[in-house]
Homo-oligomer: 241 residues x 2
């Protein structure tokens, strides 16, 4: 009775402003019986707060709490357990939407549920506005143009690896800045790239903060912060043909 | 009388499926007096076809036709002329929305109008779902996870530069494949990266096409095609701490 099973949706709900959800995500969100979303070990879920204005009454909710291991990633058995809980709903014929901040397949944790469930169940990924576009819009400057190369660097990378990658830069977005802010500032300063860099925190949200990286105090930023680095003017064009 | 002037909007309308437009883009699209959109030198505008189901009657339209120069980019005076036309509407107090496929600040041509007009007029960029997320969703595989580096490489880059960039790969999306398909296939084959590569054409549109790169025939792809390349399994994790 395969066709009685529910569908799993990975729903990109955008970078923070509930109005940056797509029409498709809205339609699916309002059609499902079960809504699941990631949340920190303790405290509220950002994903749920983005979707909250659009949710409908009577939806079951699954709060996906994923305590971090020393490697900074949740243990596999945590996702095994949530996948089993979601599978129970799908087996019962109930559609389940997993809310994903930004885009589900761009550094999203949805992939850990997708890889466990998409073999057995119908699964659909609905792309969303990523924080990348929101940060660029907030900063008032294009990320990249023409034939420039854009690199997305996770701030947890080792300092040497960050420096190596930044040495080959057209434009880059350093994501997941969080507790790595000091390291990021240090590397960029050493490379002479700090002056043109922009810091953006919680793009598109009411408490959005944008300032030159050099004016950012403190050693720690929120997880949802990003640093944009662009190659200086004068050599702004990549190879063209 | 600055406050009588209209507002310029760069409206990210998503990768192709009209349902992947955001609620915010929809609201603004339906509120403006003037809608402008890029179109090829001859023929229909993809951007307009994405927005068409949502447009309202009585909106003036500006078709932005940008003949390509030998360098493959439009001449400055073309944008000067369209900026002047749009400025005329803004001076008259009419809001103007420029439709942008995908996201306005990720390789979008909107930046050429923005840089000409945002000094004098109120301008707002509304981020959209980029083709990147749509392509990943269509391919059914995450683009990047954990601390992997994602690079976005424009296919027009020189063959040697493409190869150099690909040598340092976690995951990458090669954009603007178009007439560069043969070169892209050649480079990836030489580097042993062709087998795992996925070709996606017109992601999220009714005529979407997804296949292994090795099964793609022909030397030329549509402009809206992308090749996804991922590092092989076995060394899939970047440095972590």
């Amino acid at each position: 009775m395969t066709d009685q099973k529910g569908t799993l949706y990975g729903l990109g709900i955008g970078p923070g402003d509930p109005e940056l959800m797509t029409l498709k995500a809205l339609r699916i969100l309002q059609s499902v019986s079960v809504v699941a979303y990631p949340a920190p070990d303790t405290g509220d879920s950002l994903a749920r707060s983005i979707a909250a204005p659009h949710m409908v009454e009577g939806q079951a909710e699954i709060v996906i709490r994923t305590p971090m291991t020393p490697g900074n990633f949740p243990a596999d058995d945590v996702y095994d357990r949530y996948a089993a809980e979601i599978a129970g709903h799908l087996d019962g014929g109930r559609d389940v939407a997993v809310l994903c901040e930004g885009d589900p397949f761009l550094y999203g944790s949805f992939m850990y549920l997708y890889e466990r469930l998409s073999g057995e169940y119908r699964a659909e990924v609905v792309p969303g506005v990523s924080s990348l576009g929101a940060v660029a819009a907030a900063s008032g400057r294009p990320l990249v143009s023409r034939n420039q190369v854009l690199s997305i660097l996770p701030a947890p990378l080792d300092e040497a690896e960050l420096e190596r990658r930044l040495g080959d830069l057209d434009a880059c977005a350093i994501m997941k800045v969080g507790r790595h802010l000091d390291k990021v500032k240090r590397v960029l300063a050493r490379m002479g790239l700090a002056d043109g860099a922009t810091y953006v925190e919680r793009a598109s949200m009411p408490d959005q903060k944008i300032l030159p990286l050099n004016e950012v105090d403190g050693a720690r930023a929120p997880y949802f912060s990003m640093v944009l680095v662009r190659r200086q003017e004068g050599n702004a064009e990549g190879a063209e043909k």
